[in-house]
Every structure is written in structure tokens, then in C-alpha cells.
């Protein structure tokens, strides 16, 4: 059985419908790419999973129904969110950002410091003074500190310099190989997603239109739905 199961998920922003039937699953230890053009419902799906917006349809994690849970409980049962736009706590230091929502488990301050040495060096610096790439690392580290079973990365390399991007991808690859945490990835780079993911799910107009193993994701499919 899938660890995260999303079936026929619908959601509204006010009176306008944003999701029209998203189907998506992530198994334990699996890396799934959630793809689609801008505005097709990727981030909305993430928000629905994290219970930041209301939705309808099947939404379970490890067999627990997520509907009716407040967002903090979704986090507590194992969803670590790295949100779009990073959203680090700007006035807090790096260390405080990491400790804010820490839960006991294998991920600790020192282990995050090993994954991202830059964060270890800047532990007493305020998040607002970090570069974009460092803030991204902080957002990932912060999510890891909750010791999640499912890590959701929403546009984790957006707007970063190539070198930074590479560091982030290396870190994600490390997480996949060394920790076995399930990962749901949203990103613009089809090439990078293809290199790291096991499966892909493509959304179009708030609906799942393609799902399959990453090997089956042909250039035709990406050209049609992702626009590359």
C-alpha cells in the first residue's frame, strides 16, 4: 500500500476551483516528481496534503486520514514541508530556525550541519542575512529537523545560481540514498527530476493527466504537458 495516497482530490480557493481530481501516491522510500506547467495545481496539491487549504477526496498518510487534521498534526505524523519561497523565519538565527520545530529522531543540529556545512558555519546568523541558496538549505534542514517520513520539496532550486542548485540536488540525492525518506519533488528542471525520481505525476489544469515510471517519461510527454 502507498505511504501517501491522494485520490480524486479537489480543492477551492474561495469560489474558484483549483484542483479537479488529483491522483498521486508515494511509497515508502520512493522519490516522486510532481510536474506540470505553472498554475496547474502543483503547489495547491502540496498545500492540500499539508492541510493548509481545505480539500475533498482521498488523502491518507500511512493509512491515517489527513482530512480533519490541523496542519500541525500532519507535520507531527511525518510530513516535512519545504515550502515554495522557502519561508525561513527571517528574524531567527539559523540555529533557532532549525530548533523551532525540531522533533527527536536521527536528524539533529549536527547532522543537518554535516549535510549543509554552510549552515553549520552560519548557525548564529539571522536567516534574513543568508543568501537565497543558504535560505533554501535552511528550509530543507528545518524540515528535516522534524524527522519526517515524507519530505515535500516545492521548487527547492528556484531562482538559485547553478552552483547552489547543484549543492541542493546533491543533498536531495544524498537523502534518497542514505536515509530512505520518501520524497515528493516539485521542480522546473525535467532533467534533474528525471535523474533522481522513481516515478512522475503530471498535473494539467488541476488534474492528474499522466503518471508512470520515470523511464517511461518520454520527450513527447514532457513536451506536451511540461512545455520543454
Amino acid at each position: 500500500m502507498s505511504f501517501l495516497k491522494v485520490e480524486n482530490l479537489t480543492a477551492f480557493y474561495g469560489s474558484s476551483q483549483a484542483l479537479f481530481g488529483v491522483d498521486l501516491s508515494v511509497d515508502e522510500g520512493e522519490v516522486v516528481a510532481l510536474m506540470g506547467r505553472n498554475g496547474m495545481g502543483k503547489s495547491t496539491t502540496v498545500k492540500a496534503i499539508c492541510r493548509l487549504i481545505r480539500s475533498k477526496g482521498v488523502l491518507t498518510l500511512g493509512g491515517d486520514n489527513l482530512h480533519g487534521l490541523p496542519s500541525f498534526k500532519v507535520a507531527r505524523i511525518g510530513v516535512g514541508l519545504v515550502p515554495e519561497g522557502r519561508r525561513c523565519f527571517a528574524d531567527l538565527t539559523v540555529r533557532e530556525n532549525l530548533l523551532a520545530a525540531a522533533k527527536s529522531g536521527p536528524w539533529t543540529l549536527s547532522r543537518v550541519g554535516e549535510l549543509f556545512p554552510r549552515l553549520g558555519e552560519r548557525s548564529e546568523q539571522r536567516a534574513r542575512s543568508l543568501s537565497g541558496g543558504e535560505q533554501q538549505m535552511l528550509a530543507i534542514g528545518r524540515a528535516l529537523m522534524t524527522n519526517p517520513r515524507l519530505l515535500i520539496l516545492d521548487e527547492a532550486t528556484e531562482g538559485l545560481a547553478p552552483l547552489m542548485r547543484q549543492e541542493i540536488w546533491d543533498a536531495i540525492r544524498h537523502l534518497k540514498q542514505e536515509t530512505g525518506v520518501a520524497i515528493l519533488l516539485i521542480d522546473k528542471s525535467v532533467r534533474e527530476l528525471s535523474a533522481i525520481s522513481d516515478r512522475a505525476v503530471i498535473l494539467e489544469r488541476g488534474k492528474t493527466v499522466w503518471t508512470g515510471a520515470i523511464e517511461d517519461l518520454t520527450a513527447d510527454v514532457t513536451a506536451k504537458y511540461v512545455g520543454v
Binding site: 493548509l52 500541525f72 516535512g80 514541508l81 523565519f89 528574524d91 523551532a100 522533533k103
Partner: protein
Amino acid sequence: MSAILIIEQILNGLQFGVMLFLMAAGLTLIFGVMGLINLAHGSLYMVGAFAAAAVAGWTGSFLLGLAAALAAAALAGAIIEMVVIRRLYSAAHLDQVLATFALILIFSEGTRWVFGSFPLFLDIPEALSGPVTLPGGIQYPLYRLALIAIGLAVAVGLWALIERTRIGIQIRAGENDREMIGALGVDISKLYTLVFALGAGLAGLSGALVGAIQSVQVGMGEPVLILAFVVIVIGGIGSIRGAFVGALLVGLTDTLGGVFLPELFAVFMETSAAQKSGSALASMSIYILMGLVLIWRPTGLFGARI
């Protein structure tokens, strides 16, 4: 004008300032973290004073009275947060003002109903009554010195709580991005109840401490509330450090202005006119101070820069 008088008045100003800080700290924390304007904060000050007067009168112990003040105000705070305030976080500020104004009326009439309209008296404990002689031969009431010490100790404790503990980190994270701290697994509504109860408890404590040098009566909280608002506007809304500095500034300005402005005016005016205009200006002085600070720094001394 003697040095003794000046030192005495500075101590009075400090004492007033630290008590204002206890009020303002909760107010600024609640505004900074939850974005809520709580007019009923003065009611919690009153609740603390009444609880202290009642329990101290009943048991004869001032310390138990203080504990009761802290507990009663924190409990009242937690209850109103869960029953009323919680529904107001996403509401417009004007709605918050209206609803918390209603709470003032409910608390005031409720207190009148339970305790009657006559003021209660809370005696200064035996051990702290009477004057002490400070270096330089200044005689000063021991209780007021104790108030200064308690206020400073609470300020340090609050600073440590906010800056050095996990709860403090979460409170500050919530100030930055409340949705995000929730999405990371922190129960925001519990945190908010806690912050509100903490602020309420501090207001209650200051009500009880001040209640022993003034009378304990319905409506005692509102004048202090207005001053506490001036304090947090000067200090920068949401900043505990700002509340501390603002409270001392307001306490000192108000106290020293009231004493020295009439004397200053008497230098170039006839005594009775100086007395009148001096005290008129003194009662305006904190608002003038607020105006000047806002011209210089529109978000207050320690407020977030826009």
C-alpha cells in the same frame, strides 16, 4: 531642588516604569504574535488586583495574594482567549477593538457584581513596609524598591524565556510566519493560549503589586492600559525590549515631568501660573514624547523597519 529629591523622583519614575512594563510586555507580545489589539488587558490587571486583595485579606498572606493574582489573571486570560479572542485573530482590528471593549464592560460589571462598588485595600506586607535608608541618606519606601526589583527580575525572566527557550523560539517564529510554524508541527492555538495567559498573568501581577500602593477598584485598569499603549507605540509594537525601554521612558517622563515642570516654569513665571501650566504640560508630556519618537522613528524605537 535637592539631589535627594531628584534621586527620589527618579526611583519613583523607575518604579512606575517597571510596573508599566509588566502591563506593556503582555500587550506587545499579544499584538506582536497574534496581531491582536486587546483592550481588555486592563481588565486582567484589575482581575489580578482583586484576586490579590481577596486572597491576601482572607489568608493574611501577601505572597499567596500575589500567587492568586498571577493564577487568576492567567486563567481568566486563557479562558477569554479560548472562548472569545481566538475568533478574532483573523478579524479586522476594529472588530477586535469592539469585542475586547465588550470584555472590559463584562469584566467591570462582573467584578462590581462580585465585590461591590467600594474599593478594596491590599496592605503592603509587614516585611516590606516602612522606609529604608539608601546610601547618601535618602529615605525611600522599601516596598517601592521591591517593586523595582521584581519588575527588573520579571524583565530578565521574560527576556530569557523569549530568547533562550524553545517556546520563545516558537513564539518568535510565529511572529515571522504563523502558517509555516504550524505546518512544521507546532500547535499554534495552544501556543497562542499560552502567550495570552502569560501576558494576562503579567498584567495581573502588576495589578496586584500596584494595588498595594493604590486602591483596588473597578476601572483601575483602563488608565494604565492607555499608558501601556503609549509605551508599546514608543517602544515599537511587538518588541519586548522596546516595551522595556518605552516603559522606563514613560515612567520617568511622567513622574519627573509632574514634579519638575512646575518648578522649572516658576523660574520665569509667577508661582500659581507656573503650577498650573507646569502640571498641564506634565500631563501632556508622555504624549508629546510619543509624538517626537514617532516623527523620528515611525515604527517606534525597536519596531520593525518598514
